[in-house]
């Protein structure tokens, strides 16, 4: 491997790329379009009111029912009673964390009685630190309704202690919205598609046009050639990942953790798929069969690796199938570092992709011939 050779070849790749408006569009603007499209379809932005999940421990006493209906009438929040009986106030925070509407309210047992006796009673509001506006709305609504109830109990004097107070608690775990999953998913989508389609195409068209033959007459080696492609797609991946994260956060308020832990995946992912694209192109004898092999390899991964839909939403057998797809590990790894901050799981994913990449790269260099036997 000669670094100067790789550098010279990389220069050709970069120039070719930036002088080709179609390629530029597809790898830089296409991801934004995807983010915007899927973000709009699946995220529930602009529904108007905030849904608040409620556990009423006071077993529907008249005071608690009146309180909730007053809360509902504020029209800024919508009260939804938790029907799942296994949810208790102590597990509520965790449960909310996995819920689509992660703000909640607990009315304690004896609320009605305390209210009538005039003894102070505390509600608990569960807020989501990731969603300040929803949390603020709920807090404001609860505060307003409680004030109204306190006034009704003629607590107007200077030294009056309000009967109904409330404490707040954060929901237990981080809360993820569709758009949060969509960002690592779509980064994975680009890591898969742009090198795969391009390398499959290059491998057959360069062979047909005699460009490989031309290169075989120079000191450039096949592994140097492939390495320069890997480097290029790593750079491109960084660029498009930045664009997608920017668009996701800017347009849809996605929450992703930007740690250095993402970087290995943005390197190893393209490494794997550049090699796989070349391998697919080398195995095929004609441009048509190269495209076919490329599609057979690419399409299942495009949809079943957690790109647009989380793998955990799939039926069991599809979840098992996803685990044989290399892209699954790239996306799962990115989810682990960008969403769950679970480094040890991410390391396992990284190792799987890395080992796979080395194997596929060596195989591609071996099978991809640029002169005829």
């Amino acid at each position: 491997m000669n670094l100067r050779h790789i550098g010279a070849d990389l220069k050709v790749v970069v120039r070719t790329y930036f002088r080709n408006p179609v390629a530029l569009f597809f790898s830089l603007f296409f991801p934004i379009i995807l983010i915007a499209l899927f973000g709009l379809i699946f995220s529930s932005v602009g529904s108007g009111s905030v849904t608040v999940e409620v556990i009423n421990e006071d077993h529907n006493s008249p005071a608690s029912v009146a309180f909730l209906s007053a809360l509902n009438n504020t029209s800024v929040v919508r009260v939804a009673l938790v029907t799942d009986t296994s949810v208790t106030p102590s597990s509520f925070a965790t449960w909310l964390g996995q819920n689509d509407d992660p703000v909640g309210l607990v009315i304690p047992a004896g609320f009605g009685a305390s209210y009538h006796l005039g003894t102070p009673v505390n509600l608990t509001v569960f807020t989501n630190p990731q969603d300040a506006s929803a949390s603020g709305t709920v807090l404001g609504a609860v505060q307003g309704v409680a004030n109204g109830f306190n006034l009704q109990r003629a607590c107007g004097g200077q030294n009056c202690t309000p009967i109904i107070g409330f404490s707040t608690q954060n929901v237990g775990s981080q809360v993820y919205k569709y758009i949060d999953y969509l960002i690592p998913g779509l980064i994975g989508f680009t890591i898969l598609t742009s090198p795969m389609f391009s390398l499959v195409d290059i491998s057959s068209s360069y062979r047909k046009d005699g460009i490989f033959r031309e290169l075989s007459l120079t000191p450039l080696t096949r592994s140097e050639w492939l390495t320069s492609r890997v480097i290029w797609y790593v750079l491109l991946t960084f660029l498009s990942a930045a664009i997608m994260i920017g668009a996701g956060v800017g347009l849809f308020g996605a929450h992703v953790t930007l740690t250095a832990g993402v970087v290995p995946f943005l390197v190893v992912g393209p490494f794997f798929f550049v090699s796989l694209g070349m391998l697919a192109g080398s195995v095929a004898k004609t441009p048509e069969s190269a495209a076919l092999v490329g599609n057979i390899v690419t399409f299942p991964m495009m949809f079943l690796s957690g790109t647009f839909f989380q793998v955990s939403m799939f039926p069991q057998y599809l979840q098992l199938f996803a685990r044989v797809l290399p892209l699954y590990y790239v996306i799962d790894g990115m989810n682990q570092v960008m969403l769950f901050s679970n480094t040890s799981k991410a390391l396992v994913d990284l190792l799987v992709v890395l080992v796979g990449s080395v194997v596929v790269f060596l195989l591609a260099v071996r099978l991809f011939k640029w002169r005829d036997e």
Binding site: R15, L217, R371
Partner: protein
């Protein structure tokens, strides 16, 4: 002067078909060697074997003392190749292409100098996909020269080019020879070979059917020189009787064999003395093209006859 290329008993088989079937030749270094043959004769296959792009089935091949297949790396640093129908990256300019090759070959050649040599300096910054066929071919030639090669392989470098572009390529080939490089040239154009080549080999059905200098080949396989005059068959009879030299009437002309230049005056005065009507005359000599067409034609006829059942 040593041999730049030595080929003995070269065979390349695809399945049962022998594309190259026992070929021998030697190219002395510093000469222009032209390899001729009709389409499918085995020219490109042989050339690609010499360039290390194709593996041979049998025989020995040495190019600059190296085995082109097993020692392709070191060989490629010392040879330059323009393949038939040269293609390059669409969006790259000639200047960038040469800079690219310069880095790969670790040389410090000046792109401007090289492009001036192939008359492409004015297109130095034009992208490859905007170049004409001739300009693309010139870029191929310039790239083949980036590493200051000892042997240049040119596979049909002027096919499809206009006469002006062809002459420009010829000029470069002459310069290459002057600079002491060996040139291995395959071509369809016999006049090109006749003009440029020191040595010629004609390959047909995978076998060499004639080899030598163009003059040697014409002498060995061509018809003798002749005086051709417009006239009747009677004139032919008269001349044959009078001079005892073969005189053949055809298509309103008479061809009189001219074995010795000094016979020319004798023939012309005999024509005048015949009293028969005659018009314009000219001397004719077989060109390499005539020889080529006849040799290849004869072989194909022979092949055809041998296939006819008795």
């Amino acid at each position: 002067m040593g041999a730049a290329i030595e080929v003995h008993g070269l065979v390349k088989r695809y399945g049962t078909l022998a594309a190259v079937d026992g070929v021998d030749f030697t190219v002395p270094s510093g000469t222009v060697f032209s390899f001729l043959g009709p389409n499918g004769a085995g020219k490109t296959t042989t050339t690609e074997i010499l360039e290390g792009l194709r593996r041979r089935t049998a025989g020995s091949v040495e190019v600059l003392g190296l085995d082109p297949w097993t020692q392709a790396g070191p060989l490629h640093r010392r040879i330059g190749v323009i393949p038939q129908d040269f293609r390059f990256f669409d969006k790259i300019t000639p200047k960038e292409a040469i800079e690219y090759y310069r880095t790969l070959f670790h040389t410090d050649v000046d792109p401007g100098h090289l492009l001036a040599q192939v008359e492409l300096l004015d297109k130095m910054d034009a992208r490859y996909d905007t170049l004409s066929g001739g300009q693309k071919q010139k870029l191929g030639l310039a790239l083949a020269l980036t590493n200051d090669p000892e042997i240049c392989f040119l596979d049909e470098p002027t096919t499809g080019l206009d006469p002006h572009a062809r002459r420009a390529i010829w000029a470069v080939i002459r310069t290459l020879k002057r600079e002491g490089r060996t040139v291995f040239l395959t071509t369809h154009y016999l006049e090109e070979a006749e003009l440029l080549a020191d040595q010629v080999a004609i390959i047909h059905h995978g076998k060499i059917i004639a080899a030598g200098t163009p003059g040697e080949i014409i002498r060995a396989h061509g018809r003798p020189a002749r005086i051709s005059v417009e006239g009747s068959p009677e004139l032919a009879t008269y001349l044959q009787t009078k001079l005892a030299i073969p005189a053949v009437p055809h298509d309103g002309r008479v061809d009189v064999e001219l074995n010795d230049r000094r016979d020319a005056l004798k023939i012309l005065s005999a024509i005048d003395q015949s009293g028969l009507p005659w018009q314009a005359f000219e001397t004719r000599q077989d060109t390499l093209e005539d020889v080529f067409v006849r040799l290849v034609g004869q072989m194909d006829e022979g092949a055809l006859q041998s296939e006819v059942p008795p």
